[in-house]
């Protein structure tokens, strides 16, 4: 039985090790704008060319309704989406998340590279505050048992530098631990009773920003 456990642990370790093996090369970024949530990769496998290679913290997007573009593909008459988040996805790569990659009580860009952005296609309400339709950047301040999530109007900006004079709303949300550990930083929407939650998850922590509409 013990042997089984050990070999299972070894198997999982190997699988995780293989699947997490970094393959991409990082786009050159000014050193002043580097931070430990983006790693620098050595020995690029991709032949050099004048066009940028793939980011080590690749970008991704999530819609609400979930998978909206696919829904629209199946039915062109579907009403417009409610929200979309575009963000970069750094990886843990065996580093501790808190007091490793990010620190409590400090600004956290909720991503990497360009500031993470959230687009509301119609007016929404977050914790009783009306948020007008439009594009915002989103960042956070994590504490041990709650996170502050901030919407800011300084769009098309870089994630590491926030202009707090352009904050549109600050929302305190609880944070909980998840059974599993997520290698990649993740933001997705899920349906809720009052609208949708923006689910923010990395390592074994999850926080949900409630959005009503």
């Amino acid at each position: 039985m013990k042997k089984v456990k050990i070999s299972l642990a070894l198997f999982l370790f190997l699988v995780i090790g293989i699947t997490c093996k970094p393959k991409q090369k990082e786009e050159p970024v000014d050193t002043a704008l580097k931070k430990p949530d983006t790693l620098i990769m050595q020995s690029p496998e991709i032949p050099a060319n004048t066009y940028s290679s793939v980011d080590i913290s690749p970008m991704d997007m999530s819609y609400y309704p979930v998978d909206y573009p696919k829904i629209k593909m199946a039915n062109a008459a579907v009403p417009p989406p409610v929200a979309r988040v575009i963000y970069s996805r750094p990886q843990l790569q065996r580093r501790p998340l808190f007091n490793g990659i990010i620190k409590y009580n400090e600004h956290w860009r909720l991503g990497a590279n360009e500031a993470s952005e959230i687009n509301f296609y119609k007016d929404v309400i977050i914790q009783r505050k009306k948020i007008k339709a439009g594009r915002y950047i989103i960042y956070g301040i994590p504490q041990e048992d709650s996170w502050t999530i901030i919407l800011n109007s300084n769009i098309d900006s870089w994630g590491l530098k926030q202009d707090t004079t352009k904050d549109v709303g600050r929302f305190n949300i609880p944070v909980s631990t998840n059974g599993t550990s997520l290698e990649y930083f993740t933001m997705v929407f899920e349906k809720s009773e009052t609208g949708a939650n923006l689910v923010i998850a990395w390592a074994d922590v999850v926080a949900k920003l409630p959005i009503a509409f």
Partner: protein, 187 residues
């Protein structure tokens, strides 16, 4: 008994991985990326080095060549191509621009192309927030522009879309494999 435990462990692992994938997505094989004009606008903004406001940005997924024959192979000549992967490739103009002599209002659009050996036809279409080119609707076209194919000496592994300034116009440049094609945009 041992075998059963192995099987159970393996199936639990696989099913938990599947569950994790449905609710929380893993990394895309063709990752998303963004390019701005001016190039690296957000990065410049953080360094207070901006000289002009943003004019355009493109958001697209980046499939890899991976030893495949791309143009005339994976991307068939004469057929509509989504210029990316996953969600349709999106271009946003921050102000009105001219493409192919036509005034394009500021806003978000979807980009497609019909690829041929010597030239491509770029298509700017008004249907946004859609997946790929599978439900392309010609009635929503805003403009079509034909551009010649240029050859690159060094191959490009991951599809790249960026902007290059050329005197009075900016070119939206698409580069992959040994091919480069430019869509001129007048600001």
């Amino acid at each position: 008994m041992k075998k059963n435990i192995y099987l159970l462990a393996a199936s639990l692992f696989i099913s938990s991985a599947l569950i994790a994938q449905t609710s929380l997505p893993s990394i895309d094989k063709s990752p998303l990326d963004v390019s701005y004009y001016p190039l690296r606008y957000p990065n410049l903004k953080a360094q207070d080095k901006i000289t002009e406001p943003p004019a355009a940005r493109v958001i697209y997924s980046r499939p890899k060549k991976e030893d495949r024959n791309i143009f005339g192979g994976l991307v068939e000549y004469g057929k509509l191509w989504r210029l990316g992967a996953n969600e349709a490739t999106e271009i946003e103009f921050y102000k009105p621009v001219l493409i192919g002599g036509k005034k394009i209002a500021k806003g978000r659009y979807t980009l497609y192309a019909i690829v041929n050996d010597k030239s491509w036809t770029f298509i700017v279409n008004k249907e946004t927030d859609i997946w790929g080119s599978f439900k392309y609707n010609e009635a929503k076209d805003v403009v079509r522009v034909e551009s010649p194919v240029q050859t690159l000496n060094e191959p490009v592994e991951s599809l790249a879309i960026t902007f290059e300034k050329d005197s009075n116009v900016i070119n939206l440049v698409v580069a992959w494999e040994n091919t480069k094609v430019a869509l001129p945009i007048s600001l």
